[in-house]
């Protein structure tokens, strides 16, 4: 794992450590640095402003309460926080009472259909993972599209099949093969 020194990651890890010791000012800084990133993540999955606000609120209270759980050795701080938000958003979406329209999915489709220079550049610029961007580009269009839809908008297999107007089995195969190739590509670097 080529872990390049990332000033943001170091800053966030330090702030989380302070939060674990009850420093509320550090928590405010942590919020300032990360809330727009995490709100975007939640909003794309739950697709409703008020739900995303509620998810974000719960997640930051959780992050505060569990800051002591953050083990720097295991994952990057932003990855840790983002996973909390993603998991909460996905659990939220799987509640029986949450019904959403399909229109918003289009955003992701458009983004990823046309070679997607915008998001790719953002990934690279974020210093997050140039390898990931490169590996995503190597996927077949349908694989990339189904993975992007599932990942950004929390679509299940059957929702993917509905949306892409393809049989369930076909979509499942795209997702599975896409993930396998992604893993192979990322470990081959």
């Amino acid at each position: 794992m080529g872990t390049s020194p990332d000033p943001l990651a170091e800053r966030l890890a330090g702030l989380l450590g302070q939060c674990a010791l009850g420093n509320q000012r550090a928590f405010a800084d942590l919020y300032t640095l990360t809330s727009a990133k995490l709100f975007g993540v939640a909003l794309r999955i739950v697709r409703r402003q008020d739900w995303a606000e509620e998810v974000l609120q719960e997640c930051y209270v959780n992050i505060w309460n569990h800051a002591g759980d953050y083990a720097a050795a295991r994952s990057a701080p932003l990855t840790w926080m983002t996973s909390i938000v993603r998991n909460r958003s996905l659990d939220w979406l799987r509640r029986p009472q949450s019904e959403t329209t399909g229109e918003e999915y289009e955003i992701a489709v458009e983004i990823w259909q046309d070679q997607a220079p915008g998001p790719m550049e953002r990934l690279v610029a974020a210093g997050e993972s140039a390898a990931l961007a490169r590996c995503l580009e190597q996927l077949e269009a349908k694989q990339r599209q189904s993975i992007a839809l599932a990942f950004f908008h929390g679509l299940s297999h059957s929702e993917l099949a509905d949306h892409m107007k393809e049989p369930l089995g076909t979509v499942k195969t795209w997702v599975r093969r896409g993930l396998e190739r992604l893993k192979g590509c990322l470990s081959g670097t």
Partner: protein
């Protein structure tokens, strides 16, 4: 169980869990498997490291100001310095749902080793979201030659930040300040021997709490870091 021993299947499920396509009952089942399977949690963490940075390819969107105000209110309230253990509202906030309590009670009863006096007191400690995180249980102190308590961690991903430690506190009756029961490790099942001075106070205790402290434990003898788990004592015998 054997179904989940297949490494390829484990990897595939972990990938789909992180991607989000593992839904419904499959997702819930996977989450409960993770709780008892550290290797599976590592597989998930590996997939998170691969995929989650992808989440930031999307646009940043600033949340409205009222979100932060609500968060800081909630955090500030839980953080109230003076005598938080006396505050009823504090405990009410962390009330465990009765269903979760029954589950954890089952866990506690399952923790009883045969040749020991039966567990008489159980405290189910929940995290900030009200989920059971840790169960503490003990037999009557007088019935034991070497008084101890049993601790079981039931949280999904118990992890401790570097240079911090977890300290367990007994909340004795009345307005008395918390009494340290010692430091807790991340082991799922633990037995903590109690010093004589503490055993006398176990009887009237009404709650237990876990705080995050600097490595080596609280420097002051009272909780200094945030309380991450807490629960009320319930006499079951």
């Amino acid at each position: 169980m054997t179904r989940y021993a297949n490494p390829e299947l484990r990897d595939k499920l972990a990938a789909e869990y992180v991607l989000g396509t593992l839904a419904g009952r499959a997702r819930a089942r996977f989450q409960s498997l993770m709780r008892y399977d550290p290797a599976l949690r590592r597989t998930v963490a590996d997939w998170e490291a691969r995929l989650v940075p992808f989440a930031h390819a999307g646009k940043e969107i600033a949340p409205p100001g009222h979100v932060w105000r609500a968060i800081s209110r909630r955090v500030g309230r839980a953080q109230r310095r003076a005598g938080w253990w006396e505050s009823l509202a504090f405990w009410r906030t962390f009330a465990v749902t009765s269903a979760a309590f029954v589950v954890a009670l089952g866990v506690a009863i399952g923790m009883m080793p045969r040749p020991e006096p039966p567990i008489s007191t159980v405290a189910v400690m929940s995290d900030g979201s009200g989920k059971p995180a840790m169960v503490v249980a003990w037999p009557p102190m007088k019935a034991m030659r070497d008084p101890h308590i049993r601790v079981k961690i039931v949280q999904d991903h118990p992890t401790m930040a570097p240079s911090t430690s977890w300290e367990l506190w007994l909340l004795p009756g009345g307005k008395a300040a918390p009494v340290s029961l010692g430091q807790v490790s991340l082991d799922e099942l633990q037995v903590m021997k109690l010093p004589k001075a503490v055993t006398a106070r176990m009887q009237g205790a009404w709650g237990v709490a876990l705080s995050v402290e600097p490595a080596g434990g609280s420097p002051t003898g009272a909780p200094t870091g945030p309380i991450i788990f807490k629960g009320e004592c319930v006499k079951i015998l």
